[in-house]
């Protein structure tokens, strides 16, 4: 007897599928049903999930062989929505990648479903018999507990949380599925060109970072921070206004919720007030040092060591003392 598929996963790549399977497995076990994984065949840019189907009960193979080129969210969402409509899972799990968020939003609209993106945790609450997803609100000030209450519940995992993995034995059944082709849209978009972005630096691997914020009054003064970087052998980062409004430094140096998330051993913030969006990017920094002349700056609550004082006095002192 085939149990009902209660949790269905779609992943853009093998790496994220592992993390989604770990969460999906625990929810499926809790709900007493099977865990399914949709894989797309016939398209090189999307993985064929055989390698990561460990822990999955059923692999649903969507033969998308006739689709050429890049996957548009309109097309992907229509297919996944159609498959969900026929399988009727309780939960659809995906990753909160840029594409993932576009897709789940469309699937949720199509199915009139509850949808939570960027979740940090999702679980069945046995006491209240409901599915609960936890996510950051206001950029990280609090973690909200959201109850999902529609027939099919859609949850897209925050990328930084896709690290869970467990050891499973491969034991899946393979079934072919076809979305209702009448529902697959004729998307009036075309990819003209794809250019790789030339990044001058990748802060995600930096062990030491010194970031500059609006406390720096002139673009030329960023050189003072660069000197500190040289002495500390650190990389240079910045807050959102310095990259987006002042445009003194390129995007890849912007640290924060809409920028890079960093995990250095040492993070020095000079002239940055410490808004929640910036703090979200340095959660995993080991030691945080804050230099700011405003004693009420919120950053001091998120610092290991705080120095209240003028950036223009302290930083040169620091450089001299370190030499």
């Amino acid at each position: 007897m085939m149990e009902r598929c209660v949790v269905l996963i779609f992943s853009e790549n093998a790496e994220w599928a592992e993390g989604l399977v770990a969460t999906g497995r625990s929810i499926a076990d809790e709900l007493g049903g099977t865990l399914g994984l949709i894989v797309m065949s016939g398209n090189d840019s999307v993985f064929d999930g055989k390698e990561v189907a460990k822990g999955v009960d059923i692999v649903y193979r969507w033969n998308s062989g006739d689709f050429q080129g890049r996957l548009f969210p309109e097309y992907l969402a229509a297919g996944i929505s159609s498959i969900c409509a026929s399988l009727q899972p309780d939960v659809l799990l995906m990753a909160s990648s840029p594409l993932g968020k576009e897709v789940v939003s469309r699937v949720a609209a199509d199915l009139d479903s509850a949808c939570v993106t960027e979740w940090l945790d999702v679980y069945v609450d046995k006491n209240d018999a409901c599915l609960v997803a936890e996510k950051s609100l206001f950029g990280g000030v609090v973690i909200a507990e959201i109850v999902l209450r529609s027939k099919i519940k859609i949850c897209a995992c925050s990328l930084e949380n896709l690290t869970r993995s467990e050891e499973y034995v491969s034991r899946y059944e393979l079934i072919a599925v076809s979305p209702d082709t009448a529902k697959l849209p004729n998307v009036l978009k075309e990819v003209v060109e794809v250019r790789p972005v030339q990044k001058s630096v990748d802060l995600t691997g930096a062990k030491k970072i010194v970031s500059v914020g609006r406390g720096c009054k002139k673009q030329e003064d960023v050189a003072i921070i660069k000197d500190l970087c040289d002495v500390l052998q650190a990389e240079l980062g910045c807050s959102r206004p310095v990259a987006e409004e002042l445009r003194w430094l390129p995007e890849e140096r912007k640290v924060g919720l809409t920028g890079v998330s960093v995990k250095p051993d040492l993070y020095v913030a000079a002239g940055i007030s410490g808004q929640v969006q910036h703090l979200a990017g340095i959660k995993d920094a080991r030691i945080v040092v804050v230099i700011n002349n405003d004693k009420k700056a919120p950053f001091f609550n998120a610092a290991d060591y705080g120095l209240i004082g003028d950036f223009y006095e302290i930083v040169p002192e620091l450089i001299n003392a370190l030499r």
Binding site: R70, F72, P73, E74, A77, P98, K101, E102, S105, R106, A108, A109, D112, S113, A114, C115, V132, L137, F138, G139, G140, V141, V142, A144, E145, I146, V147, R149, S150, L188, K189, E190, V191, V192, E193, V194, R195, P196, V197, L232, E244, E251, L257, T258, D265, L266, V276, R286, F300, N301, D304, Y305, G306, L307, I308, G309, I314, E317, L318, A321
Partner: protein, 289 residues
């Protein structure tokens, strides 16, 4: 089409009366634009009560979602270059009139404020449904613009959710919008993690804008104050045929947790040279220098 243009130029018909303009040597079609804006709590002002640890949301200043400012600015640019009208739509409380006035002062033409019950705001799909109904009622649009994300929820669902409901294609994470040689077609650059993608798409279309797209030119306080309240049309959900029942909203927030800070919060005091010396001592102990 091309015969029409040649006739146009030969008889020097006034361009302002036509649906086409010439911008940078390219013929562009007039675009009527609808911009979705959100009224949010100023996240930089949110505090936790020191005694109870609870979120203090009452009395916190409110404002336009930063990312929607970029959307309004982009609409203003497109209007200058192609003609057309900008209509704003916002689902929000009465205070949201402030946000709409600011956007009108930036250069938008009309504004619609839809009131919704408090329980509706947490659910982005529900909001997308209300906005879609409002957009359908306004009608006659070529582009719908949204900020990619809102600074309170960071859900990123509303833009694509509206596109799906209205049967539109969408392009998210847009960092530039340009005109194709064929009128009614746009070339959009979008920023992905390690790539820039160039997309050609036809209107009508929904665009989700990344904050890198422009630097919004903020109106002065006086310009905002000069916008009369009657420029905002107020709609109720019933005007849009949308039901406002609490148990029909697919998600609700049952509570929240406050993350515990593990930072040491050591404040170093003294003269610059004193605190620098203290800091270096601490960093040596921590093993980072």
């Amino acid at each position: 089409m091309w015969r029409f243009i040649k006739l146009h130029l030969r008889y020097e018909l006034p361009l302002s009366q036509s649906v086409m303009k010439i911008h940078d040597g390219v013929v562009v079609l007039r675009m009527n634009i609808i911009v979705c804006v959100k009224h949010v709590v100023d996240t930089t002002e949110i505090r936790l009560d020191k005694k109870t640890g609870e979120l203090i949301l009452r009395g916190i200043p409110t404002k336009i979602n930063d990312y929607d400012r970029n959307a309004v600015q982009e609409a203003v640019r497109l209007k200058k270059e192609t003609g057309g009208q900008i209509s704003l739509v916002c689902v929000g409380p009465r205070e949201a009139a402030k946000t709409l006035k600011e956007a009108l002062a930036m250069g938008a033409d009309k504004a619609y404020l839809v009131s919704a019950p408090a329980f509706a705001y947490v659910d982005p799909q529900f909001i997308a449904g209300v906005l879609s109904a409002a957009i359908a009622k306004i009608g006659d649009y070529d582009l719908v613009l949204c900020g990619d994300v809102s600074e309170d929820g960071y859900n990123s669902q509303v833009g694509p959710g509206i596109a799906q409901r209205l049967g539109l294609s969408h392009v998210s994470y847009a960092i530039s919008i340009n005109y194709e040689a064929v009128p009614g077609t746009l070339i959009i650059e979008r920023a992905l993690k390690d790539e820039i993608e160039l997309i050609r798409a036809k209107t009508p279309l929904l665009l989700g804008l990344n904050s890198r797209i422009n630097i919004p030119r903020l109106p002065t306080t006086i310009q905002v104050m000069k916008v009369p309240s009657n420029r905002i049309t107020e709609w109720k959900m019933s005007d849009l045929g949308v039901e406002a029942e609490e148990n029909k909203v697919p998600t609700y927030m049952r509570g929240y947790k406050v993350p515990v800070s593990k930072r040491k919060r050591v404040l170093l005091e003294g003269s610059s040279s004193e605190i620098v010396d203290k800091l270096i001592g601490c960093l040596k102990e921590e093993g980072v220098v």
